[in-house]
């Protein structure tokens, strides 16, 4: 057990944690409140912290003006598929990088790290040309493939860490019992690493869900747009429609919030790989 804390220590802890909670939650509260104010009352000299009248006008406007449902579906499908495929592919590469020793290993790990250093803006033009050649511009499969590729390097590094936390002995035992290497991977390692795999998937999902620049570059038609692109569109040349934008923001945040509510346990647990300690 951790040693007992003094009353003063406890006060500091509670104050700090509560303070940070307020700081963290306030912007979310504020965007929600803004989205629920009726258009026109957003710009009043005295700011209302709790509107007198709640209005769903911004939300109904969103679904009538723009095909927000379509954008949400696109984002959900693309982020889920890309996140899952990237996790599976990364599992394979991470496994090799964790369990084998070979000469080009450091180079491969460096290559993964370098992808994180290059500003993606450098690549947008050539990527567009490439996708045109492949007939994958304005295509959900195309964006999914790119997202998979973008997720792989970090996901591999992350999963490699989890593999390394799992003792070799587990696998060896399985292999002595007659499992093939792959059998050992699937039957012994993966179940143990489940929280880590979930954490990796969530990480991928969130990254794809939030991605803006690639999506703007590669998607053209309304039917293929993702949520961040649509959100960016609200900053039209005409006016910053704070009401609609707040509503769109709330709708964008909501799915990831739900995901987090379910999964925050796994994130920490997964990263700790606590499952193997027992």
């Amino acid at each position: 057990m951790i040693n007992k804390e003094s009353t003063a220590g406890r006060a500091v802890r509670i104050t700090f944690l509560t303070g940070w909670l307020i700081v963290t939650v306030f912007p979310l509260y504020w965007i929600t409140i803004t989205s629920l104010k009726s258009p026109g009352t957003i710009f009043s000299p005295s700011i209302a912290y709790w509107p007198e009248h709640f209005s769903l006008a911004n939300y109904t406007g969103l679904f009538s003006k723009a095909q927000f449902g379509v954008y949400l579906t696109n984002s959900l499908v693309i982020a889920t598929v890309a996140g899952a495929v990237a996790t599976v592919i990364s599992l394979l590469s991470a496994y090799v990088l964790a369990r084998f020793e070979f000469r080009s290993k450091t180079a491969l790990l460096m290559a993964a790290l370098v992808t994180q250093m290059i500003p993606s803006f450098i690549a947008l033009g050539p990527l567009y040309m490439l996708m045109t050649e492949l007939q994958l511009v304005d295509n959900r499969l195309g964006l999914t493939l790119v997202y998979i590729a973008v997720c792989i390097p970090f996901c591999t590094v992350m999963l490699r860490g989890f593999f390394e936390n799992v003792p070799d002995a587990l696998e060896e035992a399985a292999m002595i019992d007659g499992c093939s290497r792959l059998g050992a991977l699937f039957r012994v390692l993966l179940p143990v690493m489940q929280p880590g795999i979930i954490a990796a998937f969530i990480f991928n999902f969130v990254n794809c869900w939030n991605e803006l620049f690639l999506s703007v570059t590669l998607m053209n038609s309304d039917a293929n747009k993702t949520v961040p692109t649509a959100l960016n569109g609200f900053i039209s040349s005409f006016n910053i429609d704070w009401g609609s934008m707040s509503a769109a923001a709330v709708l964008t945040i909501a799915p990831t919030m739900v995901l987090f509510a379910f999964a925050s346990r796994y994130i920490v647990q997964g990263l700790t790989s606590g499952a193997v300690k027992g």
Partner: protein, 435 residues
């Protein structure tokens, strides 16, 4: 088990590659002879996109063999996106070409010169002189047909102006400074002028300078004086900027250092600022405001300089065709449709643009309400001089970023107006020399 897994991975990749590889050559032509045109707009906004879709619907009804697929990227990224599409040479047939993009895009051979095809077009006669003039570049090539014109007028709050004891809206920049200062009251979150300090700050700063040198400006190049020097070298330019920056210090919201188009329009439509210098398209936006009613605002003509004259910097955009398009004839049909008759009138009215058709001069729509000031301006071309800006220069985007950033420096007290003008003078003199 290993080989089975390997096969699965290989199969997956093969599928991915097949999907990507086999679609080649599909093109946009279908077997029944229907042609799909990909049309991309640049100055996108929801109202405009809706109007365009209606017009496209009418066009498709008239031409059942042509389908038009309208692509509306977010405005901020639109021109970059169009560039990418043009460069890749696929997925784009017709698009919005702006006066500032026509130059670079034609230089790169991305857009198609329609002049030969449009030689016998019946629509030419119906276009205003300005529309005809802007549809041709210096060498007589037609890269786009303008859909309308942008020009500045002063939006003002009638109630605030009369409450402050003024009987008429400001006519000159000096008047504006006086009235805006009187109205400014930061404690009530009320400000005089919606200053443009952010993106495209240069446009309004140049408009002031041009008004002050109106008597000796070169009408074919708004940055030049008749004696060949730049407008920034004139002593009046300094007086102009001093007045203009006073307007910021005494009568504008402090945050307007960073205001671009959306913030300015928002600042006026949410009722916090009394004056706004903007294009006519804003009439529609402000009209939809829920904070100020239609009775509370209208427009006045562009502000004049000491000589009583104002200079109207003209900006425009229109529809053009991609060089790589395989359906130029159909694209031309669409452009003709949009540039004639009802379609042209509807587009200009709904987006409140200065119209391209002569017939609009008789239209009562353009004589009433907020539009009245535009009529005043067109009726007295000697007071409100229209001047072509060097917006087709290949360094225009570089100039915008340079000048915008320097205006902010002056606003933040890191540069004097004198230094600013000296720099701009050198910049343009050298660019013209190297041309």
């Amino acid at each position: 088990m290993l080989s089975r897994r390997k096969a699965a991975v290989a199969l997956g990749l093969a599928t991915a590659l097949t999907v990507s590889g086999c679609a080649v050559g599909g093109g946009s032509g279908a077997s029944d002879g229907t042609v799909t045109l990909h049309m991309v707009e640049s100055l996108t906004n929801p109202v405009r996109t809706a109007v365009l879709k209606t017009l496209i619907g009418q066009f498709e009804k008239q031409n059942p063999k042509i389908k038009v697929d309208l692509i509306s990227p977010p405005t901020e990224q639109a021109d970059q996106k169009i560039q990418q599409m043009l460069q890749s040479g696929s997925g784009i047939d017709t698009m919005e070409v702006r006066d500032i993009t026509a130059g670079p895009w034609s230089t790169n051979g991305w857009i198609y010169d329609m002049s030969k095809d449009l030689k016998g077009w019946s629509g030419w006669d119906a276009l205003t002189d300005n529309a005809v003039k802007y549809s041709k570049d210096a060498k007589g090539r037609t890269y786009y047909i303008p859909y309308g014109f942008y020009g500045l007028s002063l939006y003002y709050r009638t109630d605030l102006v009369s409450d402050a004891g003024f009987s008429a809206p400001p006519a000159s920049w000096d008047d504006l400074l006086k009235q805006a200062t009187a109205i400014q009251d930061p404690d009530k979150r009320r400000y005089g002028y919606a200053f443009r300090g952010g993106t495209n700050a240069n446009s309004n700063a140049v408009a002031v300078i041009e008004a002050y040198v109106a008597d000796k400006i070169d009408r074919d190049n708004g940055f030049k004086l008749t004696d060949g020097k730049t407008i920034f070298s004139a002593p009046e330019a300094l007086t102009a900027l001093e007045t203009y920056f006073k307007l910021f210090k005494k009568a504008s919201p402090p945050s307007s250092v960073a205001w671009g188009y959306p913030e300015m329009v928002e600042g006026f439509s949410n009722g916090s600022t009394a004056f706004l210098l903007q294009d006519p398209e804003v009439i529609a936006t402000v009209g939809e405001s829920k904070s100020i009613t239609k009775k509370q605002w209208t427009t006045a003509p562009l502000l004049t300089g000491p000589s009583g004259k104002a200079v109207q910097p003209v900006a425009t955009a229109g529809w053009g065709i991609a060089s790589a398009s395989k359906h130029k004839a159909e694209a031309e049909k669409l452009i003709k449709f949009l540039s004639e008759g009802d379609a042209a009138t509807t587009f200009d009215k709904k987006n409140s643009l200065v119209p391209i058709l002569k017939s609009s001069a008789d239209d009562t729509f353009y004589k009433t309400g907020a539009w009245a000031s535009y009529v005043t301006m067109t009726e007295s071309p000697d007071t409100y001089i229209t001047v072509t800006q060097p917006r087709n220069s290949s360094w225009w985007t570089e100039w915008i970023q340079k000048s915008d950033s320097e205006i902010q420096k002056v606003l933040l007290g890191k540069m004097t107006p004198k230094e600013l003008l000296a720099g701009w003078n050198t910049y343009w003199t050298e660019k013209w020399k190297s041309q």
